[in-house]
């Protein structure tokens, strides 16, 4: 069965979709009231974010667009030290999408939501004519309760250490491999990161800056921090965790693992005294967590090789295309 324009018409089919699929999977006392807006209670400092998700392919090793849309927004909240609480979700569906595909996406959203104490409290569905969008676009917005504040890209000081929570480049590798027709067993790192962040906060780590390395990868995060805090970040090439599969795929295509997207990997800056403890905590979640570098005086991001040369790491530019030869 395929989704037709009738499902977005606001009539009987739309209601069926909402009741049988969305309410059934996302149900909570706020959502099922089905009012024009959700009424929620928030006290204290609150984080608010939004993100839209489009991805080709919509199903990939280790996730799908549904899981991504929840993890992405929850992670944006988590990176600001906020516990995800309330989410909105909007679907823009291309006419002709298989109903079973939508169901799989909704199932995975529901599975992902159960991993955090967050609820979908409002939503919307549109169905548009074939060709107007690519299969399905999802927007989620999220509200989170700030548990640890004052986390900012502007906070970095000379001597601070930079850590990465796990091996990099998985999500980007999976997507690019599928797009260019290469079979791979790599799984995307797509995952909600609140548990990791909460562990750091609970253990009393003074988190200075934190960001999930999504599009643009590790390179982008480090460059943004260097610019925002007006400092130089020096990283050591042999400390950056990269799985054999990801480096192999990068060899084939001519990509840089540091430029590839991640969806469940974050970079955190802490004071030097907290670095080892941070690493130990992160290692409980992924053994590849690593202290990759430190903040020094200057500007830009510099990579140090183990044999004594240095090079700049720039922001990735343009579309990622395989090299010619």
């Amino acid at each position: 069965m395929k989704i037709t324009l009738a499902y977005g018409g606001g009539g009987e089919e739309t209601n069926k979709l909402i009741k049988d699929l969305f309410y059934e999977n996302f149900k909570n006392d706020i959502l099922i009231k089905a009012e024009d807006a959700a009424i929620i209670n928030i006290d204290g400092k609150t984080a608010f974010t939004t993100d839209s998700f489009t991805i080709d392919p919509i199903f990939f090793n280790g996730g799908d667009i549904g899981k991504l849309s929840i993890a992405g927004t929850c992670n944006d909240l988590a990176m600001m030290g906020a516990e995800p609480k309330f989410l909105s979700i909007s679907f823009i569906i291309e006419e002709g999408l298989h109903f079973n595909d939508l169901k799989k996406i909704v199932d995975s959203i529901s599975t992902e939501l159960k991993k955090v104490n967050a609820k979908i409290v409002c939503g919307d569905t549109k169905v548009v004519p074939a060709g107007s969008v690519d299969k399905i676009f999802i927007n989620t917005s999220g509200i989170g309760k700030v548990i640890k504040d004052n986390i900012s890209a502007h906070n970095l000081k000379i001597g601070d250490k930079i850590l990465v929570s796990r091996d990099i480049g998985r999500h980007g590798s999976v997507v690019l491999a599928k797009r260019f027709g290469v079979d791979t067993e790599i799984n995307s790192d797509c995952k909600i990161l609140w548990d990791e962040v909460k562990a750091l906060i609970d253990e009393g780590i003074e988190i200075k800056a934190m960001r999930d390395a999504t599009r643009g990868g590790l390179s982008a995060v480090l460059n943004e921090w260097a610019e925002a805090s007006n400092i130089r970040i020096e990283i050591e090439e042999d400390k950056i965790p990269i799985s054999d599969e990801v480096s192999g795929l990068c060899e084939i295509f001519g990509f840089e693992p540091m430029d590839l997207a991640n969806e469940g990997t974050f970079i955190v800056a802490v004071e030097s005294k907290d670095a080892e403890k941070t690493k130990e905590i992160l290692k409980k979640f992924n053994k590849n967590a690593s202290i990759i570098g430190e903040v020094v005086e200057g500007e830009k991001v510099v990579l140090k090789t183990p044999y004594g040369s240095k090079r700049y790491i720039d922001l990735p530019k343009g579309e990622l295309l395989p090299r010619i030869c």
Binding site: D244, S247, S309, K310, R311, D314, G318, R323, I324
Partner: protein, 371 residues
């Protein structure tokens, strides 16, 4: 014990080996009578030298002159315009390899043409063209073929497969260029004062080290065919230094794990089956070089996009931006940092010249790693 992909390259990036080679190079370099001006012909080597910071760890009397071996960098604007014009023809799907998508022609690029609705497909593998053609029997699939001798056999293999399988809707716009002719042109020019060469890796796998004998014989310049990894480049530098200090002038192969003296004879034969040398080809920056590129043989004219669409494809030379010095850089006469617009008006996001476009271009490598 099974072999993993990593085993194939990790030792060639081994820090201890690089450090050991550095020491050996230092010992030889002090004995040099004059500074070594070594041209790495291939853009892949330029990339390796910049990415791994090899220049920084070598003595000051070893200088790299970056050569013209970046296939998209040497493509003149009028031929990039061909790609854009072809992509906009009715019922055409234009397929090409990677970076070509970004290269600016005289007024647009394939990426912009695609945004305007042209059907442009970036390929990872040349043979994917066959699948595209089969899946779109009512379309004309134009393969805009670029690259040096490395990618040429793939184009020939695609033609062979297509003909064998009776796939008739693939057309070829051949821009395959040859490595030896521009090397001769650069040496004849003499201005770059090159006294050693690092020979290309994968080009040499196809054409064989024998193709560089003329550099040793006619120009008394040593050549070492090198692999693309940092250990390969370091070892090749050491081999060149030893040739210099021992007064030898030979073609040697460091990249023995893939290159032979004769090259890949099967690939060479396959190329000969479908293509022949053009009388002349215009190189961006270098100008017209006789017998420096390939074209389809006349018997395949019905698949030759240059002939099929001859009416709409202009051939008037188009000059580079007047501030761009890609020509001088490709000839080994200038370094990207000497260009007035480098990293200011000309960046990878908005390249004025071709050397900024491709990963293999000298300006792009300097921008990414060495600014």
């Amino acid at each position: 014990m099974s072999l993993s992909l990593k085993d194939l390259y990790s030792k060639f990036r081994d820090p201890a080996t690089i450090k050991a080679l550095k020491k050996e190079i230092e010992k030889e370099a002090v004995k040099l009578k004059e500074p070594m001006r070594v041209m790495e012909i291939c853009g892949g080597h330029t990339h390796t030298i910049m990415k791994y910071g090899i220049k920084q760890i070598l003595p000051d009397n070893i200088n790299f002159i970056h050569g013209p071996g970046c296939p998209v960098c040497v493509m003149p604007k009028e031929r990039i315009d061909h790609a854009i014009i072809l992509a906009k023809q009715p019922d055409v799907i234009l397929a090409t390899l990677g970076d070509m998508i970004r290269v600016p022609g005289s007024t647009s690029s394939l990426a912009k043409a695609r945004a305007e609705g042209a059907n442009v497909v970036p390929l990872h593998s040349t043979l994917d063209v066959l699948e595209i053609a089969k899946a779109n029997p009512d379309k004309k699939v134009v393969f805009f073929a670029i690259g040096f001798e490395t990618t040429t056999p793939m184009t020939a293999a695609l033609m062979k497969r297509a003909l064998n399988e009776g796939v008739k809707n693939i057309y070829y716009h051949i821009n395959h260029v040859l490595v030896p002719p521009p090397m001769r042109a650069i040496m004849d020019g003499g201005e770059a004062r090159i006294n050693a060469f690092i020979g290309p890796s994968h080009v040499s796998v196809i054409i064989g080290a024998k193709s560089y004998e003329f550099l040793a014989k006619d120009y008394n310049t040593p050549v070492v065919v090198a692999g693309f990894e940092p250990v390969d480049v370091m070892e090749s530098i050491l081999m060149l230094l030893k040739q210099k200090n021992e007064g030898r002038c030979e073609v040697e192969i460091q990249y023995k794990r893939a290159t032979t003296y004769e090259g890949n004879l099967v690939a060479q034969k396959l190329i000969d089956e479908f293509m022949e040398v053009r009388d002349s080809f215009r190189w961006r920056g270098l100008g017209d070089i006789p017998y420096s590129a390939l074209k389809l043989k006349d018997k395949f004219s019905e698949f030759d996009a240059e002939k099929v669409w001859a009416d709409v494809l202009p051939n008037k030379p188009i000059d580079d931006h007047k501030l761009c010095i890609c020509g001088e850089i490709l000839k080994g006469l200038a370094n990207p940092k000497e260009c007035k617009v480098f990293a200011t008006a000309c960046t990878p996001s908005n390249p004025l010249g071709s050397c900024m476009v491709s990963d293999e271009g000298a300006c792009n490598a300097y921008y990414r790693y060495g600014r």
